[in-house]
């Protein structure tokens, strides 16, 4: 999933200054899972903004609404009935959600309320960790299901680096050494020989080398 965190309240308020009728728009998918932009967080932020506006005697209307998915056109289109009541949308979607809403409603400013962080996993309650860079050419098979691009601090394809101590990374003892994990897992499966290959530098052309990426699946199209 995509992880995100709310921007500081002063930054958000700064971006909202010109607007008087604001829709705080949440998304009930990834950003709800990481407790940044779901229904609850949307209600909290809207309430906080209203309180600050009242304290400053600002004449603004701030309301909230949450879509099931802000990055899917079929859900965004449901805003059609209400969006005309506002002069700005404060989106609590990830960067893709913000842009999907902006793309569909080009006449209304859509302001990001979150900083989109990374593709990650919910490892425990309240703990999200980065584990994929979306490189476009997944090599997890060779590395026992542990991504050296996302999880090795030096992004080594032919690790470890020599600084690994007790399973921890030399850049920070709180960080697990990805290469220790790669070796442990490949050993468990009797597949250490996969590391006999010298892996060439990553071919990043599959990521953004060709400009913005898209996926087209004709079987999924109408």
């Amino acid at each position: 999933m995509i992880t995100a965190q709310q921007k500081p309240i002063d930054e958000i308020r700064g971006m909202l200054v010109p607007y008087k009728r604001i829709l705080v728009l949440g998304c009930a998918s990834c950003v709800a899972e990481c407790a940044a932009g779901g229904q609850k967080e949307t209600a909290m932020l809207a309430s906080t903004l209203r309180m600050k506006a009242k304290m400053n005697n600002e004449d603004v209307i701030i309301q909230e609404h949450t879509l099931d998915r802000q990055c899917v056109k079929d859900f965004v289109v449901t805003l059609d009935d209400i969006i005309g009541s506002y002069d700005a949308v404060l989106s609590l979607g990830c960067g893709a959600g913000v842009q999907a809403v902006a793309e569909m409603f080009s006449e209304i400013p859509v302001i990001p309320g979150l900083n989109t962080e990374f593709i990650g996993e919910t490892r425990a309650q309240g703990l999200w960790v980065e584990n994929c860079l979306g490189c476009g050419d997944c090599m997890l098979y060779y590395f026992g299901g542990v991504c050296p691009l996302a999880r090795c601090s030096k992004q080594l394809f032919n690790g470890p680096c020599g600084g690994s101590v007790g399973g921890k990374c030399e850049i920070n003892p709180d960080v697990d050494c990805a290469w220790q994990k790669i070796i442990d897992r490949l050993s468990r499966f009797g597949a250490l020989d996969r590391l006999e290959t010298i892996y060439p530098p990553k071919n990043w052309s599959r990521k953004q080398g060709g400009g913005p990426r898209k996926i087209i699946r004709e079987d999924q199209q109408r």
């Binding site: 500081p8 309240i9 002063d10 609850k40 209600a43 909290m44 309430s47 906080t48 209203r50 309180m51 600050k52 009242k54 304290m55």
Partner: protein, 151 residues
Amino acid sequence: MHYQHNRTLALFYCQNVPGAGERERIGLEKEYGQCIRFYPIACSGRLEPVHLLSALENFADAAYLITCPEGMCRYFEGNLRAIKRVMRTQDIISGIGLEKERVGIITGSKEGPKTLAELAKEIFDKVLQMEPSPVLGKGERSYDYCATEAH
């Protein structure tokens, strides 16, 4: 004897707190009128920051939570989680310039347990020392004052 107060406290409390039964709550509601709004919850861990914020936004000068004592939570960790959520709410309100003390948590004591009535009075006395909330314009109060015989 009647006293007049124009402060409102939103008081959320775990039903496990001594003296927190329905009958006691109804008695306290009569006593405090609009000054304290009582919200029993099955476990303090169910309280979300949005509940506290919503109270502060709409009617309360302060919003407090009373939990059962540490180690006594029927759901094991509810009261510990509640502490973190109250702290988060405090950070949020201080971010917009409201005093942190407008939100608080009282964890019951195993050794000297106090009743809901005792704790409500202690918290409300503290609220009376606060300035009226800058969020609530005078005209937005749901009452002008309330009178109680016990205070």
